[in-house]
């Protein structure tokens, strides 16, 4: 079965600290992989995507993500968090044959302490 898991429902970090948000998927092949961010009261903004090739991808706002096939993971990272990064982050694979359907994880809510 196709599924996505974001194990951390809520994470709190201090401003300037590094961040890693976890995402694991279950699928027989490599899906297309996306991370979206949702700020309070806002829509969904694409942070970065992975289709193929280099397994470390760069996104907007200083975020990066690494695809690890052996672990079926696509973790999001940022070396130094800013207060404005407080938001909810969604990992969203697109499994083949899904007519471009995104399957969203449950999300990780990030709080940033000053």
């Amino acid at each position: 079965a196709q599924s996505v898991t974001q194990p951390d429902i809520h994470i709190t970090v201090s401003e300037g600290a590094s961040l890693e948000l976890r995402c694991n998927y279950s699928y027989g092949a490599t899906p297309y992989l996306f991370w979206y961010v949702q700020s309070p009261g806002q829509g969904l903004q694409l942070l970065l995507k992975y289709f193929s090739g280099d397994t470390l991808v760069q996104g907007i706002k200083g975020f990066e993500a690494e695809f690890k096939r052996s672990q079926s993971s696509f973790n999001l990272r940022k070396p130094s968090v800013h207060w404005s990064d407080a938001a909810e982050y969604f990992c969203a694979p697109m499994f083949s044959g899904g007519y471009n359907k995104l399957i969203f994880g449950a999300g990780t809510r990030l709080a940033v302490h000053p």
Binding site: Y32, F34, Y36, Q42, G43, L44, Q45, L46, K49, F51, F90, A92, M94, G98, Y99, N100, K101, L102, I103, F104, G105, A106, G107
Partner: protein, 116 residues
């Protein structure tokens, strides 16, 4: 930068009433989608639409739901007889023509639907 727009931003309706949620996708995009997010829950796929027909729909998208592209710019979601459990944020999204860029979906700000 082009963006997806949605109207209204908030819709309050009574149970059993029909509602139409409107979206204007990015102008050169050909694939359109609706997703919803019930408060406190994850975003769920409802339906995808291409070439004037539904490409895929989820189990949520039953006979009470329909989508339409009535003209060259709008994409609508209609709920015929709303239920309390339809209360959610509804997001419209669009993507380009086939190719890797087609898989990058751009989302609108959402319409919050409240059914009383």
């Amino acid at each position: 930068e082009p963006e997806v727009t949605q109207t209204p931003s908030h819709q309050v309706t009574q149970m059993g009433q029909e509602v139409i949620l409107r979206c204007v996708p990015i102008s050169n995009h050909l694939y359109f989608y609706w997703y919803r997010q019930i408060l406190g829950q994850k975003v769920e796929f409802l339906v995808s639409f291409y070439n004037n027909e539904i490409s895929e729909k989820s189990e949520i998208f039953d006979d009470q739901f329909s989508v339409e592209r009535p003209d060259g710019s709008n994409f609508t979601l209609k709920i015929r007889s709303t239920k309390l459990e339809d209360s959610a944020m509804y997001f419209c999204a669009s993507s380009e023509t086939p190719g890797e860029e087609a898989y990058e979906q751009y989302f609108g700000p959402g319409t919050r639907l409240t059914v009383t």
